[in-house]
Amino acid sequence: MVQLPLGKEGKQLPVRPGKHPDRSGRNGLVRFVKQLDIQLMVLPAMLLILVFSYIPMYGLIMGFQDYDIFLGGFRGFFESPWVGLKHFEMFFDSPEFVRVMRNTIVISLLKLFIGFPAPILLALMLNEVRHMVFKRFVQTISYLPHFLSWVIVAGFVMSMLTTDNGSVNIMMQKLNLIEEPINFLSIPEYFWGILVTTGVWKEIGFGSIVYLAAIASIDPHLYEAASMDGASKFKQMFLITLPSIMPVVIIFMILAIGNLLSAGFEDILLLGVNPVLRDVSDVIDTYVYRVGIQNSRYSYATAVGLFKAVISVGLLTMANYIARRSGNSLW
């Protein structure tokens, strides 16, 4: 049911044996001119992809150069002096390396272990609801935060947690849990928790849509047979629903593992404003942004970004390889 376009293309490839005499040379050109109308639909878009995706990809070589700002963008990519792996070594030896890697991996794993199962759990719970009005009500409300910008969400978090009469502080004081309001967003110990909770708050509803659809396609006879055999609803959830949506879960798991080094960017940038939090908030992406854009150390930041991209592709390939052995893979 779930299939990546790459896989689809891959399957189409081998079914074309034999030669294509009309494809070569002059005949090819004639054919090209004949289908110029559809080529003109594709070529402008391809040009945009070439410029805005492939030129930056080529620009990655500046990670191995000392990028010369005075040569400017394109010439800088071509003519800056080579320095080999200097910037990579600098990153590995820098005092930030351990901190950035630790934060990236810890935050990612927290998001993976809490943020990933949360929508599945919600879908399982929604599936048990028999009152359609209540179900639709919960769904409508829980989808909404996905459509808000991170700025708004961060604004909500700040307004809930502020010492200046934030609702969380008010509630905790009323319940006598704390004496004085706590400035949550300036205490490093709380940051990871706030980050993960906010992420779940924003995406739990929207993430559940896919799983609800997968649940809807399960054969109802399975449930009937199970109730005949006296299986409780709770047992049915674990013995029928969960195994049936496993292929979808695995696909999303692979994608999540491929994103393991993308611990977050907008959320951390917006919630971790307080410099006190840098020790726990600095991840690869925010580090690249700070060093590259704010401090203009272009080559160094590119090297750090490239390091991340290469590991991510490696992780994705590995996760996919493992999943393929269980019969569910992206490609």
Partner: protein, 298 residues
């Protein structure tokens, strides 16, 4: 219907309670923001505003709507969303239609080039230098041109076009219609739901994006509302830290105005969320469908 066992009933009650709790925690921040934005700022500063405004006023909105910088940023956001969505959907749909044609030379090559960009990119810094080199810094077009083609949307469009019955186009071809004519007169009018879904997601992206303007735009006249809001919230944090250092002086300042930075930023937040809340009920059925189309092809 079978009677539920005791264990199942316990489970159902637990589920209903948890779901109601989730709905409440999701809804409360919205509600609280609206309440604070409708409450006099000075009164809010005295604390305890949760579910209902205590000293009702439209004053905060008055200040926001009279701030020419905020109003201007609101219009920049609208312009960017309308132009960006329309242009991107058109370019991407035409692209997808071309690529869905089996006779297209280099079809596979084009597809491979597209798919690579889904897994690998040059990243932030080379893109930044490219945009700078192209002279798009401080230009409205930086919002539009780099995001004209979305490979993701192209693949969804393409899947849809491939599913259209071939007979439709055959008859149009008989009548002497070219590929562009077929696209605009037959294919596009048939693609209503897909166009609506993808336009929704593209529009949400454009409306919500604050990061691109924060690095590419320094001219305040061109900043969209989200980036503006981010600056306001950051200055709030700063003032909160200041107030901890020198709460007496800060308190004095707050007392002089009935509109505080907090009530003001809440009103701005509500204004910046309003367009999304307003279209949300109408497009909900489309995006549920849209997500499924997207994930099925994933």
């Amino acid at each position: 219907m079978l009677k539920l066992s005791f264990g199942d009933r316990v489970m159902h009650v637990t589920i209903y309670i948890l779901l109601a709790l989730l709905a409440f925690t999701t809804f409360y921040p919205f509600w609280n923001a609206v309440v604070i934005s409708l409450n006099s700022g000075m009164d809010t500063a005295q604390g305890g505003i949760t579910f209902w405004p205590r000293s009702f006023t439209f004053e905060n909105y008055g200040v926001v709507l009279n701030d020419s910088r905020l109003v201007n940023s609101f219009f920049i956001s609208i312009l960017r969303t309308v132009v960006g969505t329309f242009a991107s959907i058109m370019v991407t749909a035409i692209f997808a239609y071309g690529i869905s044609k089996k006779e297209l030379m280099g079809r596979k090559f084009y597809m491979v080039l597209c798919i690579i960009t889904m897994y690998f990119s040059g990243g932030l810094i080379p893109s930044y230098l490219l945009i700078r080199e192209l002279g798009l810094m401080n230009s409205f077009w930086v919002f539009i041109i780099p995001s004209l083609v979305s490979v993701w949307n192209m693949i969804i469009f393409r899947t849809f076009f491939l599913g259209l019955p071939a007979g439709l186009e055959e008859s149009a071809k008989m009548d002497g219609c070219g590929s562009w004519g077929i696209f605009f007169r037959i294919v596009l009018p048939l693609s209503g739901p897909v166009v609506a879904t993808l336009a929704l997601f593209t529009a949400v992206y454009h409306w919500n994006d604050w990061f691109l303007p924060s690095i590419y735009i320094t001219n305040e006249q061109l900043l969209p509302i989200q980036t503006m809001l981010k600056q306001i919230l950051n200055s709030n944090i700063m003032s909160e830290q200041m107030s901890q250092l020198d709460s007496a002086a800060q308190g004095q300042m707050a007392k002089m105005r009935s509109v505080t930075t907090k009530s003001l930023s809440m009103a701005t937040m509500v204004v910046a969320t309003l367009p999304i809340i307003m279209v949300y009920p109408f497009v909900q059925k489309y995006f549920v469908k849209g997500v499924l189309v997207g994930s099925l092809k994933e």
